[in-house]
Amino acid sequence: MSTSIDDNELPKANVTRILKHALPASTALQKDAKLAISKASTVFINYLSATANDIAKSANHKTITAPDVFKALEVLELEDFVPKLQEAFTGTKMNANYHISYKAALY
């Protein structure tokens, strides 16, 4: 393996912010706890993308696409994530399309 888990960590501030939102106010967080969750999310990304990659391969395309990721979530028994993710995804996708069509209309 060229890089290990420790080389690519998500920014501590972002992770801590999400953590705090999930907990009731005025909760203390042990330093090790923040680190543990940070490592856990890195591994989560690895795990999910490896699964999504396998799904993409079995469907004969080289690129990991959004449907691959959704299928991977189901395979990993993480279907609970799917509704929220769908909602957030269609939100950003609509924004992206809006920008693209606006720019296209300018030319």
Partner: protein, 132 residues
Amino acid sequence: MSEELSHSIINAGTAPGAQPVFDLAKFWQEQLSLADNFDSDFKNHPLPLARIKKVMKTDQDVKMISAEAPILFAKGCEIFISELTRRAWIHAEENKRRTLQRSDIATAISKTDMCDFLIDIVPREEVCEFIS
């Protein structure tokens, strides 16, 4: 001001009675209503997409990634972090603590079937190499 300006821009260069290709007035109306309804706090940034992509690429098998995939991963990670934290918090509350500790997270992971892949990442014992 915007009404007259936008009307003159729309009608310039189009034959009378022709449909304007791009409705500028409508665009500005929508932008204004979007701005009015914008309620999210500016501090709530998503996780950096480039970093996520780097993590995905630590797997040698993964070659090409579509643009939408890291966006999904960012939100998925957010949900994952929230979920794991809440499960760990249950343990902290059981022990009447207001501080979330690593042991709480370790317990939550061991109790959740879907988190089997994390068993070695957050060991329950005191010593772990990656912290030092």
